[in-house]
Symmetry: none
Subunit: 216 residues, 2 copies
DNA sequence: GCCGGCTTGGGAAATTTGCCCGAGCTGCGA
DNA sequence: TCGCAGCTCGGGCAAATTTCCCAAGCCGGC
């Protein structure tokens, strides 16, 4: 890792949209102390670029399709636990934010924030601090949960029911598969929602899919 | 409308992410012949900015949340049928592309295209030509060959609601996004289920995902 | 033995779903 | 031009489900 104070902050940009990367690059480099040393448009390349360039900060969007964004974070951190990763995305769902921090991200900024928010977040993250945009802080506060990364808080039965539900099974089907009363399955359904913070069945399905519980 | 040949091409940028706009502005203005004369971050402002600046080309993302993107296109075209509108978004679903052209767009470029694709598309559109990026052409071609997915039986509104629902939005959120009553959204929800044959919300999400309406 | 967590379900209020209805609007063909 | 068909929008109401709160049995750990 380079000497931040003397040479500025080296940044690896990861976003799947080329023009978006190019735009960010210009915005960041106009700051003077921020230098984009590499770009990547997918998780695998991001890991490769990280290994060869060892940037101070990784700014990563990857739009979080699937768990590949989270995997990228985990991969990078596995290689270098001191790596600073700033997630910069349009998503603002609490489950995603928590998953990102749980995977080892140092910051989370939404694209709807002021442009300066990313810049200051990069500097904060480079100093080893945790950073997030105001809206994310608000969302996490609302979420007001302490537990771990979504599925970790679920028991075996709950995960099994979530899997079947996300796979498209009806409550009755799940009940008969598992030899439970419909009422119990309904209760689990509710419990899972509250534990994961999902407000909607659709969010539940997306959560299950992004955790690899279900393939779509 | 200004004289394109002599003064270059004036552009109105519409995107809901400030930093993205700032990035585009830098990329476009580095071209010399492209001048960003105004920006907007929502459909209403886009219409207002169009009225006051009368740009040669409107580059519009708005991320298509709700039909507001399509409405913006229709509004602008209603005011000036010669308006050139280039949709520039991360979405690449055939239904959306067709809807955009149907609403009066002159071009459709995805953000995953090469940065030069937008620039050349803007010039094409300014000349009155139709423009689309290679991936969009490919998707439309495939689409025209396939007999039709389950989504073909759905109307524009239904598809929009399905997209938002599958994306994790609650009934209330969808209703307020689209300015509908909750009841209407509930009815659409039901209608979509019966039309697609989905028995469960989870099945609906999976259907939307498998049709490319939503990325998980 | 006791505490805490998982699993299983009851109960009742609140909400949503399932279906049927009508009305306004638009485009299209007779 | 008329009328039909389809989309959009919402009311109504019974039936179903969700939401929460609660209790009880079981099991592992301290």
């Amino acid at each position: 890792m380079s000497d931040v104070a003397a040479t500025g902050i080296s940044v690896l940009l990861v976003d799947d949209h080329p023009i978006v990367r190019q735009g960010y690059r210009r915005v960041l480099e106009s700051q003077g102390d921020l230098h984009v040393v590499a770009e990547a448009d997918n998780a695998a390349d991001a890991y490769g670029a990280f290994k060869t360039h060892d940037p101070d900060v990784v700014v990563l969007d990857i739009s979080m399709p699937g768990a590949s964004g989270l995997e990228a974070i985990r991969n990078i951190r596995a290689r270098n636990p001191r790596a600073r990763i700033l997630v910069f995305t349009m998503h603002n769902e609490a489950v995603l934010v928590k998953a990102a921090f749980g995977a080892g991200a140092s910051g989370f900024v939404t694209k709807s924030s002021e442009p300066t928010a990313v810049v200051t977040a990069i500097r904060s993250v480079a100093r080893g601090e945790r950073a997030m945009s105001d809206d994310i802080a608000h969302i996490l506060a609302e979420d007001s949960l302490s537990a771990g990364s979504a599925l970790d808080q679920l028991g075996e039965r709950e995960i099994e029911i979530l899997r079947q539900f996300a796979g498209g099974a009806t409550t009755e089907q799940i009940a008969s598969h598992l030899n439970l009363s419909v009422k119990t399955v309904q209760n689990y359904h509710y419990l899972i929602k509250t534990k994961t913070g999902a407000r909607t069945d659709a969010q539940l399905v997306r959560l299950a899919a992004s955790c690899g519980l279900t393939k779509i």
